[in-house]
């Protein structure tokens, strides 16, 4: 099993969620995060003083998937999250050694 983590633009979250539903993913976990990268932040003005905010709000999506579904899920995320503008974000895949559904204790694929 794998854990796919994606950093996307917040206003793309809903689309990605729908796309994942489409790709028969039954769940995901989302975190509001601050991203730093090529996409520059913004400048704020406070009583005549300008200051630079480097971080940009992003949504971090975690999805546990069976090995076989990895590619399909990656594609779904990348296709829907893409705007083509800098700051679209990253996706990465990490190996998962075990996963359980707390409610039932089911392990592995049944946990999803």
């Amino acid at each position: 099993m794998k854990l796919i983590t994606a950093i996307v633009k917040p206003f793309k979250l809903d689309e990605v969620k729908e796309a994942l539903k489409g790709a028969e993913v039954h769940g995901m976990t989302v975190t509001e995060v601050q991203g730093f990268g090529r996409q520059s932040g913004h400048t704020e003005v406070y009583r005549g003083a300008e200051y630079q905010i480097d971080f940009v709000p992003k949504s971090r999506i975690e999805v546990l998937v069976e090995d076989g579904d990895v590619q399909r899920v990656l594609d779904a995320i990348i296709d829907t999250a893409r705007t083509g503008k800098i700051g679209d974000g990253k996706v990465w895949v990490v190996p998962v050694e075990a996963a359980y559904r707390i409610r039932t204790g089911e392990a592995g694929e049944d946990a999803l």
Binding site: E44, V45, Y46, R47, G48, A49, E50, Y51, Q52, I53
Partner: protein, 414 residues
Amino acid sequence: MPELDAGSTAWVLTATALVLFMTPGLAFFYGGMVRGKHVLGMLMQNVFCMGLVSVLWGLVGFSLAFGDGGKYIGNFDFAFLKDMQNGALQLPGYSDSYVLVIPAILFCAYQMMFAIITPALITGATADRLKFKSWVVLLGVWSILVYSPVAHWVFSPKGWLFQRGALDFAGGTVVHINAGVAALAIVLIIGKRRGYPNEPMPPHSLPWTLIGTGILWFGWFGFNAGSALGANMLAAQALINTHMAAAAAMLGWLVVERLKDGHATTLGGASGAVAGLVAITPCAGFVSAMSAIVIGLLAGAVCYLAIGIKRRFGFDDALDVVAVHLVGGITGSLLLGFFADTKINSLGFDGVLNGGGGELLGNQAVAVGATIVFSFVVTYIIAKVIDMTMGLRVDEAAEHEGLDLSQHAETAYS
């Protein structure tokens, strides 16, 4: 003996409530600008003034400000509000054209609200690092040793500046210059916030600042129009002047800000309005509405530019009390020397622009200078002594953790 006037009493009762409401308003005006871990500390420093200063005012403060003790300070005749329960009491100097048509105890309550908010204004400068325990002491001592004397000089008909012919309708010197100078003296001792100016310290919630601004503007009608001490033409004039100056100053600040920084900010709009309210405070009952607009426009622009002072001289006046209250108060007090008009208020004098020559302007300058020197020196001494004994400032860990947790064992939001 004059009858009490019910209409005037009704208005001053209302005005007293309005001015009381300004202190929570100020607490939020400031509280929104600090970071979230310091907001309760800021609110508490302000609200606490409503507790301590009120009691001290009843015990001795009022008597020292309005008692018949000569030109420089009152006396103890009204200590513990002695005799104040007497509805027919006449306060020293309030006779003839100054006779009060409201109960003396209402005048005492009304003035108390000024005594409360004045030291509260200081807390904006010392934001994020002032030790609460030390503030309690500083507040009590300052209220008696600095506020009461200056109030006597300017507001009491027995005071030397009043008698010299200096004009201050509602507290340009007593309240704003006084608090602004005190703030400066204290920041010179307490030093900069850790991380200032490198680390950005953005306001944690500008909506709080905006609602505070709304409350301040609303309450300021009580502050200025209430200072007519009656429900009459003068109160009406003071009210519209107050409003027009705030409005014009908002525009003045925003225009300059837009030109210099490229944006008209909401904080700028709020700050400009407050700057205008500060500047019109001494003038409200002495100038025409059109003069009020001019005064406001100038105050908005000047105070915005005055924010640069702290950078130039490298002190950390966190929320710009100096730029808004000291500079704004000076601006208004001196401009009154130009715009004062006896057609508006026959108890005033004509300024330079109304054929009065420079005499009033001179007296205004004296009042401004005297307040600055006295307030700075005495405040500096008080603050220094406190700093050397109990310490004005929280330690590093407490400053990192925030005033809310370190001073009050609370967190604002959870």
